[in-house]
């Protein structure tokens, strides 16, 4: 089943064209990796999907519902954008955990705020009609997520007491807590010491095994080959090549892809 369809996304910053017509679709439970040299527009694409940037052209369709259409972007209210964001999760390169909260609170905060708001306005959240029930469920979910990323013992620690790899795993759990349809990662291991990348990549692999739909921007070519159903090579704001990893990584057709990948094999 198709969860995501992206049509002709164009994004300019002033006169600089950063995305020049991006089209692709993603099936439920599949993993898409995006590779490409620095400046090719990978981060900008993820930011557009998460509504941190507004494209000048194009459409974003999730599960058949048009979340964004550049034609009527003026009409989009803050509230609508906010609800759209919940379809996507984003794990940042720099983690961006909330430093003043414990690990557990980082995971529960956003959903608690949402649940309280929904119960107040609509009388229920996820089948819970009282704030107390909703919070209890959120709390239990956080425990499950902490287990999933292997950080149960760190529940009451503060981010500054964790290693980079642990912080990134918390950030993954925090994103999962909102139960996004599609979880995006922007170079999740680039800010980590080499010996800490393994634990983060392992968690992402496990997420694939549980059937989560993911888009991963990464420079870990070997990881992309192993974990992806599809690999996208971006170059200068367009998709230069896209296909299964055996094709794009093992046997690239586009000379730009070949050149890019050769830089990795040389190392």
């Amino acid at each position: 089943m198709e969860v995501l369809r992206v049509e002709n996304i164009v994004k300019n910053f002033g006169r600089v064209e950063v995305l020049r017509g991006i089209d692709f679709s993603l099936q439920k439970g599949q993993v898409l990796s995006i590779i490409g040299s620095s400046g090719s527009g990978k981060t900008t694409l993820l930011r557009c999907l998460n509504f941190l940037e507004t494209p000048q052209k194009g459409r974003i369709i999730v599960e058949g519902k048009t979340l964004f259409d550049a034609e009527d972007r003026q009409k989009m209210s803050d509230a609508a954008i906010r609800l759209n964001r919940l379809h996507f999760g984003l794990v940042f390169q720099q983690f961006n955990l909330f430093p003043q909260y414990t690990v557990k609170r980082n995971i529960t905060l956003a959903e608690e705020l949402l649940a309280k708001e929904k119960i107040k306005k609509e009388g229920s959240y996820n089948g819970h009609t009282t704030v107390r029930d909703a919070l209890a469920a959120i709390d239990q979910k956080a425990d499950r997520l902490l287990e999933e990323v292997g950080l149960t013992v760190k529940a009451d620690s503060y981010p500054c007491q964790l290693s980079g790899g642990q912080q990134q795993r918390v950030a993954i759990a925090r994103a999962l807590a909102m139960e996004p349809d599609i979880l995006c990662f922007d170079e999740p291991t680039s800010a980590l010491d080499p010996e800490l990348t393994g634990e983060v990549l392992r968690v992402i692999r496990e997420l694939k095994d549980t059937g989560r739909t993911m888009i991963i921007v990464t420079h870990e070519i070997g990881f992309a080959r192993d974990v992806s159903d599809t690999v996208m090579f971006m170059d200068g704001g367009v998709i230069a090549e896209m296909g299964p990893p055996e094709q794009v990584i093992e046997n690239p057709q586009n000379p730009r892809t070949r050149e890019f990948l050769s830089r990795f094999t040389e190392r």
Binding site: D78, L90, A175
Partner: protein, 222 residues
């Protein structure tokens, strides 16, 4: 002798305290407004506020005090300071304006010092603007603001002494009066010693208060 000195100094100290309190009450909110102006997306307003801040921070408070006290009398039909407590209010206006500009820079540093990533993390988790401000960024701003603010406030305590320039009778004025009196050497060291002690005690209390606040927020790093 001792009692006379203490009484006079107490009176001066109360005046110092009054100027200190009025300056804080006026300059904190005004500083916040000025900081918004200096971060405004509307160019001319931003430019205007930043120029004001630049002028106020680039000239001595003593000069500003003199200008604010004497100049209106020359150019306005009626001297606005020719009222009861006029000297005090002139000093208050100068101090509030001066400190608001310093505070605005501290606020701006606090707001802009919180990484954008914090706000974006809140956004992608579906939080509203106000939730992000109150639940995520506010405390991080306060943590950034408290240390420079405590420096500035302690400087304010000492700066109140400048108000004697326009013959407003604060603590130093009260202490100094004894030097000109006929108390001999005792008229020199007692008042000086006690004047110093008053400032030290007051600033000591403030230092404790701010130290406590910093400690309260030391459990996290941002």
């Amino acid at each position: 002798m001792f009692i006379t000195v203490i009484n006079a100094l107490n009176e001066g100290f109360l005046q110092t305290l009054k100027l200190f309190a009025v300056t804080l009450v006026g300059a904190l909110p005004l500083g916040l407004v000025i900081s918004f102006g200096s971060m405004c997306r509307f160019g001319p307003l931003r430019w205007l506020t930043r120029t004001l801040v630049w002028i106020v921070r680039g000239t001595p408070l003593m000069l500003q005090l003199i200008v604010i006290f004497y100049v209106p009398g020359f150019i306005l039909p009626q001297n606005p300071w020719a009222v009861t407590d006029g000297r005090f209010w002139a000093a208050a206006v100068a101090f509030i304006l001066n400190y608001a500009c310093y505070f605005s820079e501290i606020f701006r540093g606090g707001v802009q010092g919180v990484p954008v990533g914090q706000q974006e993390a809140g956004q992608v988790l579906g939080m509203t603007r106000s939730q992000i401000f109150f639940k995520v960024t506010l405390l991080q701003m306060i943590k950034r603001i408290v240390p420079p603010m405590s420096n500035e406030i302690i400087t304010l305590v000492k700066d109140t002494a400048i108000a004697r320039m326009i013959a407003w009778q604060e603590l130093i004025y009260a202490g100094y009066a004894f030097l000109k009196g006929s108390h001999g050497l005792a008229g020199l060291y007692w008042p000086l010693l006690f004047t110093g002690l008053y400032y030290l005690l007051f600033n000591g209390l403030l230092t404790l208060l701010f130290g406590w606040m910093e400690k309260k927020m030391s459990y996290f790093r941002s």
